[in-house]
Symmetry: C3
Subunit: 269 residues, 3 copies
C-alpha cells in the first residue's frame, strides 16, 4: 500500500536524479507536459522522428507514448521507441487518449500493445473501457463514465496484458494482478483543464524512472497529481489560474503536504 | 439583434450540453483553444489524421478548420472533415489564418471553400480582405487594417459564399445577406496574446453547436470573447496574466456580466 | 560593449516597427515563443510548409530555425527558408536544440550550417559543445555543462562559421571573432520552464530585425531575457507563476528597469 512516506521518497529521488523522460505525445499538451516534468524535477525531451526515437528511447529513464494527436508516421515512431525501450528495460507508460473515439485510435492502441507491453497503461474510464469491450465508444477524449464503473474493465485490461492499469477519475484506481490501490485526491477543476490526464501519464513515467515497482510508481504519480491539484485549487479562480498554481504546487510540494492531504487505500471512499 | 438574454441562453446551453467541438487547428494555439472550449463548458477534440477525421467530424457538434500552420496532409484532412460535416449537417467554422500572407494559404482557403461552404468564416480585417481581393497581401498573421475598413469586404465575402462572415477587430462585424451586427466589446491587450482570434473561431463553433442560427451563434461568440476579455483586463498586468484571467473569466461568466458589459447593435460606435 | 542605453534603443525600435519574425520552431514552444514575441512588440508568424516558407522568409524581418522537434519534411523547409533569407539579407538565428542528444540532430544542424550560415547560433553549453566536438553527447535537451566551461567551444564555433555564437547559461557569453560580451542576468527558475532557451532565440531574431549588428542584437536579447526573468521571479511562487510574470515583464519593461538591473561586460562575474 502506498503511504505519504513512499510517495515522498520517490519524489525526492526524482528531484535528485532528474531522470530523462522521453515523450512521444500529442501537440495539445506538449508544453504542459514538459513543464509539469520540469516542475517535479525530471528532464523532459520530446522527439518523434523515426530517425531519432530509438537513440533517445535507449538513453532515457522512461518513455511516454500518448496517442492524443496521432498519424501513421507518429505511430511508426511510437512502435520503434517502445521496442527499443522494452529491449533496454526502460519503463513505458502508454496513454490511450480517446481510444474509444475512433476505430483508428483503437486499432493503433491494440497494435502498440501487441508490439510491446508497457509497464503502465494510464487512461480515463471511457478509454480503459473501450480497450476491453469494443462496443464502448466515446465522444471525443473526455470520459462519459465514472471511474468507479470502469474498475472492472481496468482489472480485465491488466490481466490481458499483465501490466499496471492506472484508471483516473474522481477516484483513481491502480490495479495489477490481484492488487488494487485507490487514490481519492484531486479537484473538480482538473477535468476543466486540457491535458491533465496526459500530465498524469508523464508524471507516472517520471516515477517509474526512479521506482522499479511500476504499481507503486503509478500510484505515487496519481497521489502527487491529486495533491498538487488540491493545493492549486485553494487559490484558483478558474481553470486559468488553476494551471499556474498547479505547476507552482508541483514545484513546491513538501513532505507535510503529502502527509496531510493523501487519501489513499485499498478501497474507494 | 443579439441581446444579453440571447447570449446568456446559448452559454447556458453550452454548459448544459457540453457539445463536442472537433478542431483541426494550428500547433500554436491547440492548447489555448482546447482550454477556452473547456472553460466555457464545451468538450474539445483535436484530430487531424486522414484516418479518423471523418469519424470524428460525423459525431461532433461542430467543426473548426483553422489553417494557421498548414501542410498538404493537413489540408487533405480538412477537406475530408468538411465534406463529412456538411453531409451530416454539422456546422463548420473556417478560420483563414494569414490568408493574405502566402499564395499557398490563399489557394488553400479557396480550395476548401470550393469543396464545402462553412456556416461561418471568422477572420481579421487583412484575412477577410485578402479573400475578396487577391491584391490584398498581409505580412504574417496580424492584421494591418482596421475592421471598419474591411466591413465591405466582409459583406462581399458573405454574398460570394452565402455564409456568415465574422470579422473581428476593434469592432467585430458579423454579416450575412443584408444583416449586420456589431460587437464593440474587447480590450487592446487581446491582439498581444497569440491565438485569441483562433479562440474566437473555436467559441463560434461551440455556439453554433447549440444554436442552429449561425448568424446569432457567431455574434454571441464574439460578445463572450469581448466581455471575458474586458473582465480579464481588469486585473491583468500584461499579456501573461491576461491569458490566465481570460480563461477564469470564460469559466465564471455570469448573466449579469453580460447584461452590464455587452455593447452590441446594428452600427459601429 | 552593450549598455542599458543600447538595449533600450533596440527595444524601442521593436515596439515601434513591430518586425515580422518567421519561426520554424518546435511544437513544444510555439505558443510561448509567439507570446514572447508579441509581448516585446514583434509580430510572430509560424510557418513550416515547403509550399510557403520561402514566401514568408523573403518578407520577414528575421528568421528563427529551431530543431527542437524535427523530422525530414521540416528540415527540408528549414533549409529552403534559410537559403531564401540569406539571399534577401534577412538575418537568421539557428537554435540547435538537443544537438548532442542524437546523431540525427547533430547531422541536421551540420547540414543546415553547410547550406546557409546564420547570423547567430544560440544554444546552451551542451549544444554548443556538441557542435564543436562530436564526442560531446547530451541526455535530452537540458545542458549538463556550465556555460563557463563551454566558452571556448563557443569561440571555436564562431570561428568555424564566422557568425555570432550566443551561449546561454548562468552567465551568457556572446562571442564573435575576438569579441566577447557577458550577460549575468537571469534567475534559477528559468531552466525550470520549458522553452525559455527557444524564447531567447526568438527574441534574438526580433533584435536582429532592428539592429544590423548581429553581435549587439544577440547580447541585447540575452539582457532583456535575463532582466525580465529577474523581474518575473520577484513575484513568482514557482515555474507556473514565473511564466505569467515573465510575459508581463517583457511587455512592461521600462528603461529604468534595464538601467538598474543590467549586469553585462567583457568578463564573467
Amino acid at each position: 500500500m502506498i503511504s505519504a512516506q513512499s510517495v515522498w521518497e520517490d519524489l525526492v529521488k526524482i528531484r535528485e536524479r532528474s531522470p530523462l523522460v522521453h515523450n512521444i505525445t500529442n501537440f495539445v499538451v506538449m508544453n504542459n507536459t514538459a513543464n509539469a516534468l520540469l516542475a517535479i524535477g525530471a528532464s523532459p525531451v520530446m522527439a518523434h522522428a523515426g530517425e531519432e526515437v530509438e537513440e533517445i528511447a535507449g538513453a532515457c529513464g522512461a518513455l511516454v507514448v500518448n496517442i492524443g494527436t496521432l498519424n501513421p508516421q507518429w505511430v511508426g515512431a511510437m512502435e520503434k521507441a517502445m521496442l527499443k525501450a522494452r529491449e533496454g528495460g526502460v519503463p513505458i507508460v502508454l496513454d490511450p487518449v480517446g481510444a474509444g473515439a475512433t476505430s483508428y485510435r483503437l486499432d493503433t492502441v491494440r497494435g502498440l500493445l501487441a508490439a510491446a507491453v508497457p509497464q503502465i497503461i494510464r487512461g480515463n474510464a471511457s478509454e480503459i473501457s473501450a480497450l476491453v469491450s469494443a462496443g464502448t465508444t466515446m465522444k471525443g477524449v473526455d470520459s462519459s463514465l465514472s471511474s468507479d464503473s470502469a474498475c472492472g474493465a481496468a482489472k480485465t485490461l491488466s490481466a490481458m496484458h499483465g501490466c499496471v492499469v492506472s484508471l483516473s477519475g474522481e477516484t483513481d484506481y491502480i490495479v495489477q494482478g490481484g492488487r488494487l490501490e485507490c487514490v481519492r485526491n484531486g479537484h473538480p477543476l482538473m477535468p476543466r483543464v486540457t491535458g491533465l490526464g496526459c500530465t498524469a501519464s508523464a508524471l507516472s513515467a517520471a516515477f517509474a524512472a526512479v521506482n522499479g515497482e511500476a504499481f507503486a510508481a503509478a500510484a505515487h504519480a496519481m497521489a502527487v497529481m491529486g495533491i498538487a491539484g488540491e493545493i492549486a485549487a485553494r487559490e484558483a479562480k478558474g481553470p486559468g489560474s488553476f494551471q499556474v498554481h498547479f505547476l507552482d504546487a508541483l514545484y513546491r510540494l513538501r513532505e507535510e503536504d503529502i502527509g496531510s492531504l493523501l487519501r489513499a487505500g485499498r478501497e474507494a471512499a
